[in-house]
């Protein structure tokens, strides 16, 4: 059972207090009516299915705050949690590995 740090209260809580809400940073078009059916379909229905570093949104039920989690989908390791509007520190390298965007060398990989 996951142990998740809420980035607003800075406290760890058990998974039972949270609800997973799918992939993070799904952006709504500024003008939905001017999107094509294909673009709108992508927004509505298509999500990444990542083996490795995954950015996902969670809801902390008691405080009703949405926030983001960077989780490794193979190990379930949570690399960071971050607030709405912020950018994640860890990115997928596309091969199951992790890129630390705040490391001195941008391409440097961490475990």
């Amino acid at each position: 059972m996951f142990y998740i740090r809420c980035p607003y209260t800075n406290e760890y809580h058990s998974e039972e207090e949270f609800k997973p809400c799918g992939q993070a940073q799904i952006r709504r078009a500024d003008s939905p009516v001017s999107t094509s059916d294909e673009q709108w379909g992508d927004y509505l229905f298509f999500r990444d299915n990542i083996r490795g570093v995954h950015h996902e949104m969670w809801l902390h039920l008691p405080t009703r705050r949405y926030f983001n989690v960077t989780r490794h989908t193979v190990t379930n390791e949570i690399l960071e949690t971050w607030r709405m509007g912020e950018e994640p520190r860890y990115q997928s390298d596309g091969r199951g590995g992790v890129i630390d965007t705040r490391a001195d060398n941008d391409s440097e990989e961490v475990a």
Binding site: M1, F2, Y3, S14, K19, C21, R28, S31, P32, V33, T35, D37, W40, G41, Y43, L44, M57, L59, R64, R65, Y66, H72, V74, T75, N76, E77, I78, M84, G85
Partner: protein, 1022 residues
């Protein structure tokens, strides 16, 4: 003749039984004596019970083989009463208490043979007890339709134990715990780790599955600090017990190691005390531990060797024999042959000698065995046969001899002459498998270690440390040092400073390397030799594994599933490595190339009671009551569950109302309640409606974005019906939202959806439009809601309120504040019945007073309470939808014919607008909401969910064009009616549709408007 195999008092100073009193217990109807401290297995052995059950496939006699949780044969059905039945308890782990009642789950040969005869009747003769591997797949899978016939016979024949038939009499609970270091296993490694971690300052929990902590120290021949191991153990445990912040949990199995260092510990608190838990105690407890670091000191399981007839009672694991002798003072025979691949097992022969019994021979697979224990065995005159193995066990219901031969491990063959050695007990040791299960639960792949001929834990992302045997460190002196190191490491990782450990002085026991022998060759080919068992609980043989591979199952996971190896309650703790070794040999691979199967929780069986804890019965899920709940109960209401709410369903026999045949039926009560509303006045407890208070300068803008219709012009003091869609354009909720002030709105939601709608509002606010200044608060529980409805509702309410209720002063859809029965109230003129209605909201704590005042004044108007069933009929007569009943996630507002609630020209692209414009949602043959009037008589009520077709003569499969969503009998209309979705229904008014029924009949109906009653809406405007 009792306890024939019990040693004389004082013979074994290491024993842990209490001889000062005698207990008695009943096994398979026989009452037997035992001592406190015995397990059922040790007591059965002490009493000379060899055959404990019969195997479920071949009905072969089986006896105790092990002394711990890995036991495959001695499996018990526990419990003296139907309320205390527990299936599949390992006799080796069940302590004896006075009056214990148990039976073996291997139900005896006659039962099994009877079941097999029943199967023979089904499938014809298949040759006695010959059931090859894959038997069920090969025999029963064709023709497919026959499976249903076979299944009940197979289910009856297979399986272990019986599920209880009545509710459990005991209670169980859960406990959340946190610690710095959790130590799993209280053997030498675990105790050393716990001491080191605690001395460094860490809060420590130690759990161990056995009755007593100590692990191998309980039966060790070694002498730490030149004292018996048991004495060092006692001192160490006393030291730990005296420490603060150390929790020692014996009888507690770490059954699962889950993500983020969450470990579940299954504690059996009273199973050793009696058939039922003592009053005030829970029987078992699940500790849910979140540990900073975990130390796995889970030790090893000994492997037996696989040779012919190795399942005979009297063949035990070498370590188990030592355990029974040294811990329980039980020596399960007179004359022993020990067959081994390693030096450590020699201790069993020495223990046997110490017990005063005879050792016929030690048969060692190695050509040149050496080491401390080997030397001691030689010096005590034991015959050692090197480079050989027991290739076959002789005997009927008990071992009577061992067939010994020289073997060539490399070429898997027997060399030279065979010799039969008479004996009544055979102990075997094929090496040791580290208990990697918990580490594997974390997703870690076990890694093969050639030195110890076993798998050790691999890399993991969890914060764990291994200690001692669990990762292949075997000599006790090293185990203690390794445990202290692991405990210190764990404490340091948890933020403490290491304290250098004090370890007992201990001489190293020298051992020569072990032989890599698993399956012992026979003079005959495996397929022709007597059965050589790998998994005793599932009757999987070496020949079965060879056959599975010949038939093409090469992956160990496939071999496992085809042969059922490791599928039993023991999960292959004894047999799996041997099975993999056989598969590897046949495939010409190494064991690591063949790989292991996946280990998953639970490590040993866990009772459902412990899983459920207190979450059962009334505590399974919270129940929510409205402020008027007591009144409803007193008035005889029946309730229905709506989410967690208990809502009055209907009030049968209210105020003495009687049905045609006495008691009022549901239909009769609903008819009465409906007519009361239509002709007089009724009242509904609507408190469960979700209510969300929305405030802020941008509240109006926000509401306009999440509802489909327009909100710019709604004045203060007015309410409006709103439809809420997902981004896909599908209806997800509806309700009336009222403008209480320029920056203040009250949104109502459907009862079951309140929490989801609040999450939904927060989602849009927090993720897309954080710039809007708006706040949401759930006020569902704060306000109690009473719907007063019917033509006489105004007259009644006038008697109790200071609000001007006249049509001109308080128009339809308006909202007023005032008092009702002296209590400040919010009154809304909204109607879900189509009648003149007032929805009275008061602070929930005053609601009962208002409710009772309404009834006091309502007597003159025959005020009638109605429940959800009547509410459904009344709203359906008006064509009002219930989201979730008349809609599913595929209905747009347009499908519902509710284009009047769509603000196509609103400036902002509200949620759902773009989705609704998708091409597929614009098709005119989508399923659309219509009314259905049955054509087969006024009493007909179409079944809800019934499928609709246009052509009743069409061949099956017919083209289904929709289904009935709501259907009732209307006392007002005098006939049945229904709401339904029908393909292209909006332009099919007047057409007939057909509803084929399961009994072969067909109902018919006419498509009509969904508004059956007062279609112009005049009655609610009066």
């Amino acid at each position: 003749m009792s306890q024939v195999n019990r040693l004389d008092a004082g013979r074994m100073s290491s024993e842990h039984i209490d001889r000062s009193s005698t207990l008695s217990f009943t096994h398979d109807g026989r009452t037997l004596p035992a001592y406190p401290g015995d397990t059922v297995a040790s007591a059965l052995l002490a009493n000379g019970v060899d055959v404990i059950g019969h195997s479920f496939k071949y009905a072969r006699p089986r006896g105790v083989m092990a002394a711990g949780c890995e036991e495959p044969n001695a499996i018990l059905q526990m419990g003296a009463t139907p309320e205390t039945q527990t299936p599949n308890v390992r006799a080796t782990q069940q302590p004896v208490f006075d009056g214990l009642v148990c039976e073996s789950v291997g139900r005896g040969r006659s039962f099994i043979e009877r079941q097999q005869k029943a199967l023979t009747g089904l499938i014809g003769k298949w040759g006695g007890r010959f059931m090859p591997v894959g038997f069920y797949y090969k025999t029963f899978m064709a023709p497919q339709s026959a499976w249903l016939t076979y299944e009940k016979f197979i289910r009856a024949a297979a399986g272990l134990g019986r599920a209880p038939t009545v509710p459990d009499a005991d209670t169980y609970d859960h406990m959340n715990r946190y610690c710095d270091v959790l130590v799993v296993g209280a053997g030498p490694a675990g105790l050393a780790a716990a001491l080191a971690a605690r001395r460094a300052g860490a809060r420590v929990i130690v759990c161990d599955e056995q009755e007593q902590m100590g692990g191998c120290l309980l039966d060790s021949r070694e002498r730490p600090d030149d004292r018996p191991a048991g004495e060092w153990l006692k001192t160490t445990l006393a030291e730990l017990e005296a420490m603060d912040d150390v929790l020692l949990l014996p009888r507690t199995t770490a059954n699962g190691y889950h993500d983020h260092n969450f470990v579940t510990l299954h504690e059996r608190r009273t199973d050793h005390l009696g058939d039922r838990a003592p009053a005030g105690m829970t029987r078992q407890r699940m500790h849910r531990v979140r540990a900073q670091r975990v130390v796995l000191a889970t030790g090893v399981h000994e492997r037996p060797l696989v040779f012919a007839n190795n399942d005979l009672p009297g063949h035990l694991l070498a370590g188990a024999v030592s355990c029974y002798i040294r811990r329980y003072g039980v020596v399960p025979g007179q004359r022993l042959v020990l067959v081994t691949t390693n030096s450590h097992a020699y201790r069993t022969a020495l223990d046997w000698l110490d017990a005063g019994r005879e050792v016929a021979a030690i048969v060692d697979a190695r050509a040149e065995p050496a080491g401390t224990l080997v030397d001691e065995a030689r010096s005590r005159g034991i015959r050692i046969i090197a480079g050989a193995a027991v290739i076959e066990c002789r005997g009927d219901d008990r071992v009577s001899g061992a067939l010994v031969a020289g073997i060539d491990i490399e070429n898997f063959r027997v060399t030279g002459e065979t010799e039969t050695i008479a004996c009544d007990t055979l102990a075997s040791s094929g090496g040791y498998s580290p208990v990697v299960h918990l580490s594997a639960h974390t997703g870690s792949k076990p890694v093969w270690n050639d030195r110890i001929q076993g798998f050790v834990p691999g890399e993991t992302k969890q914060q764990l440390h291994c200690a001692g045997g669990a990762h292949g460190i075997y000599p006790l002196v090293d185990v203690l040092a390794d445990g202290a190191m692991a405990g210190g490491d764990a404490a340091v990782a948890a933020g403490f400073e290491r304290v250098s450990p004090t370890l007992p002085g201990l001489a190293r026991v020298e051992e020569s390397p072990q032989a890599a022998l698993y399956h012992v060759p026979h003079t005959l080919a495996t397929m022709r030799a007597p059965k050589q068992f790998v998994d005793l609980q599932n009757d999987v043989t070496a020949a079965g594994i060879e056959l599975a591979i010949r038939e093409g199952f090469e992956s160990i996971e496939h071999v496992k599933r085809y042969t059922a190896m490791g599928f039993g309650t023991d999960q292959g703790k004894i047999g799996n490595i041997n099975g993999m070794a056989i598969a590897a040999r046949v495939l010409g691979q190494t064991i690591p190339e063949t790989g292991t199967t996946v280990f998953r929780p639970n490590y040993t069986p866990v009772s459902f009671g412990a899983v459920a804890g207190r979450y059962c019965g009334a505590l399974f899920d919270p129940e929510r009551y409205t402020a008027m709940h007591r009144w409803h109960v007193e008035q005889g209401a029946l309730f229905e569950n709506v989410g967690q709410w208990k809502r009055p369903w209907y009030y049968p026999g209210w105020k003495g109302a009687r049905g045609a045949n006495g008691e009022e039926t549901l239909q009769e009560a609903v008819n009465r309640e409906c007519l009361a509303v239509r002709n007089g006045v009724g009242i509904l407890d609507a408190s469960t409606l979700g209510k969300i208070d929305i405030q802020g300068p941008d509240a109006r803008e926000f509401i306009g974005r999440v509802y489909t219709n327009g909100w710019e012009k709604l004045p203060v003091g007015k309410g409006r019906y709103g439809l809420m869609c997902g981004e896909d354009g599908m209806v997800m909720d509806d309700g009336v939202t009222t403008c209480l002030g320029e920056h203040h709105f009250l949104m109502t939601t459907t009862t079951g959806n309140a929490a989801q709608v609040l999450d939904w509002l927060e989602l849009w606010h927090q993720t897309e439009w954080p710039e809007l200044e708006v706040f949401f608060t759930s006020v569902t529980d704060h306000w109690a809601t009473m719907t007063l409805t019917g033509p006489k509702s105004r007259e009644l309410l006038e008697q109790l309120t200071d609000i001007d209720l006249s049509r001109d002063a308080f128009a339809f859809m308006a909202y007023r504040e005032g008092t009702v029965a002296g209590i400040p109230a919010r009154v809304y003129r909204i109607s879900f019945t189509g009648e003149l209605s007032f929805e009275i909201n008061v602070q929930a704590n005053y609601a009962m007073h208002v409710w009772e005042a309404l009834f006091a004044h309502g007597e003159a108007f025959e005020l009638t309470p109605y429940g959800t069933e009547t509410m459904h009929v009344l709203r359906a007569e008006k064509g009002f939808i219930i989201v979730g009943q008349d809609t599913d996630a595929t209905m747009t507002p347009e499908d519902l014919g509710m284009t009047w609630a769509i603000g196509y020209r609103k400036p902002f692209d509200w949620v759902g607008k773009r989705g609704m414009a998708r091409v597929d949602l614009q098709r005119d043959d989508r399923k659309q909401l219509v009314g259905l009037k049955p054509l087969d008589g006024s009493e007909v009520v179409l079944p809800e969910g019934a499928q609709i077709v246009f052509d009743p003569e069409q061949q099956i499969p017919m083209t289904m064009v929709g289904h009935v969503t709501s259907s009732y009998y209307s006392a007002t209309l005098g006939h049945g009616f229904a709401l339904a979705v029908v393909r292209g229904g909006h332009r099919r008014k007047g057409e007939h549709v057909y509803l084929p029924q399961p009994d072969g009949s067909t109902l018919s109906a006419e498509i009509v408007s969904s508004m059956f009653y007062d279609p112009k809406g005049e009655r609610q405007h009066v």
